[in-house]
């Protein structure tokens, strides 16, 4: 799980162009939206693309994203349970 969390942090930094942010700066249990990294709805779209592209997980219901993207730890758990690649 720790390995996946680190991989996710690096992928999020790259896809969201989080300048000057390092993996160790991100609290994997902090909320991704609103507080924490302060991501917004466009970032959510980028994360949906990331989930499908890297892990073969298609989020058909947008409301599902609210639960899946609560934190990096929750994302990692969801990926572990549902990944197809």
């Amino acid at each position: 799980m720790d390995e996946l969390i680190l991989k996710l942090k690096n992928e999020i930094i790259a896809v969201l162009n989080l300048e000057d942010v390092k993996p160790e700066d991100i609290d994997e249990n902090a909320p991704l939206f609103g507080e924490g990294l302060g991501l917004d709805s466009i970032d959510a779209l980028e994360l949906i693309v990331l989930m499908e592209k890297e892990y073969g997980i298609k989020l058909n219901d947008p409301n599902q994203g609210k639960d899946v993207f609560k934190s990096i730890t929750i994302m990692a758990e969801f990926i572990t349970a549902n990944r197809t690649k």
């Binding site: 896809v15 969201l16 162009n17 989080l18 300048e19 000057d20 302060g38 917004d40 466009i42 779209l45 980028e46 693309v49 499908e52 592209k53």
Partner: protein, 351 residues
């Protein structure tokens, strides 16, 4: 009577030091064929979320727009008009590159949303909360002039139809390595003696009111297409009898032209100026600001700076041409731009 139109602030990000007039006394000269803009430290001006989200052209456009608003004291312009030859070409390139390499399935929404030409004007509208007139012109080398003419006419119109008292005008173009390579192969840039291919970000606040910050007045914006020589003859015939404005176009103190070191391009300027504006001293700007679709906005910026400061720096003077005559007073500068000898534009600025 037409309403006067003033430039109350104008700023640039280009190959010269950004957001300053350092180029006036200490210009940077380049020998490279391709020079990207000198970027300011965006961390001073943008939040981390803004900085990571926006591409280079958007950061530049937003920053110069904010700066002219601050200098002119306008918190919200009445309208926004933008000229861009290539639009947000960097985002377009990333989007298309992914489309080719990875197919249509996993395209990033951010680059898609930012890949349109009017993203620039839209972003400035969101930033300024300006929900009024917002227009983008994309006509290759005369995109800026189209935008300026739109704003000029809107401000200059008769009182009963005039809707705006301030218009934010921008001219923005970026040059990417891959696009530069394509232009070299096509023979548009990179020629022997040709000035460098550069990038442009210019914003200016146009207003119907003169203030203590006013840089200069815009007297006229004219565009000609096609058989330009005949049309200019028509302009000359009308001047003495009909239009004082056109008379002024034909009698500037200086002419700022877009010579770039390519004979075919430069000869058009020299021949037409000799015919239409004999013995008027010529000025240049592409030798320090470079060539791009929106470069003529930097010509207007350079001319406006000369009018504001009341002097012409040595590096803007074309000293090797027989047309040059003795110095004159600096009251009116005509910015003459042509694109491929088809579109010819004239912008007359005065003190």
């Amino acid at each position: 009577m037409s309403q006067p139109v003033y430039i109350n602030s104008i700023k640039q990000i280009s190959a010269q030091p950004p957001l300053t007039e350092d180029w006036f006394d200490n210009p940077v000269f380049y020998t490279e064929q391709y020079v990207r803009s000198v970027e300011p430290d965006y961390k001073q001006f943008f939040t981390p979320n803004e900085a990571r989200r926006y591409g280079k052209i958007l950061k530049r456009a937003l920053l110069v727009s904010r700066q002219v608003m601050a200098e002119s004291g306008v918190t919200q312009p009445d309208a926004i008009v933008t000229g861009t030859g290539l639009g947000c070409i960097e985002s377009t390139e990333i989007f298309l590159d992914k489309l080719v390499r990875e197919g249509e399935e996993f395209l990033n929404p951010t680059h898609f949303m930012q890949s349109t030409h009017n993203t620039i004007g839209s972003l400035i509208a969101i930033d300024t909360q300006c929900k009024s007139y917002n227009n983008t012109y994309s006509h290759k080398g005369i995109s800026f002039e189209c935008a300026l003419q739109d704003a000029f006419l809107q401000l200059q119109g008769r009182e009963e139809v005039r809707r705006f008292s301030t218009v934010l005008v921008g001219a923005h173009d970026e040059m990417l390595p891959a696009y530069f390579t394509l232009l070299v192969k096509a023979g548009y840039v990179g020629k022997s003696n040709q000035t460098f291919a550069g990038e442009t970000a210019v914003a200016m606040m146009l207003s119907e009111n003169k203030t203590e910050n006013t840089w200069c007045k815009i007297e006229a914006v004219e565009k000609l297409y096609g058989d330009v020589r005949k049309k200019m003859e028509d302009v000359r015939c009308e001047t003495s009898q009909v239009s004082n404005l056109k008379s002024q176009i034909l009698n500037p103190d200086y002419i700022m032209i877009g010579t770039n070191g390519v004979k075919e391009n430069d000869d058009v300027y020299y021949e037409n100026c000799a015919k239409w504006f004999p013995n008027i001293p010529l000025l240049q700007y592409k030798n320090i600001f470079g060539e791009s679709y929106s470069a003529s906005a930097l010509g207007v910026y350079a001319a406006a700076t000369c009018l504001k400061r009341g002097e012409i720096p040595k590096h803007l003077r074309i000293t090797n041409h027989k047309l040059r005559t003795a110095d004159k007073s600096i009251n009116r500068i005509l910015c003459y731009n042509h694109f491929e000898n088809k579109n010819h534009t004239f912008i007359l600025l005065s003190k």
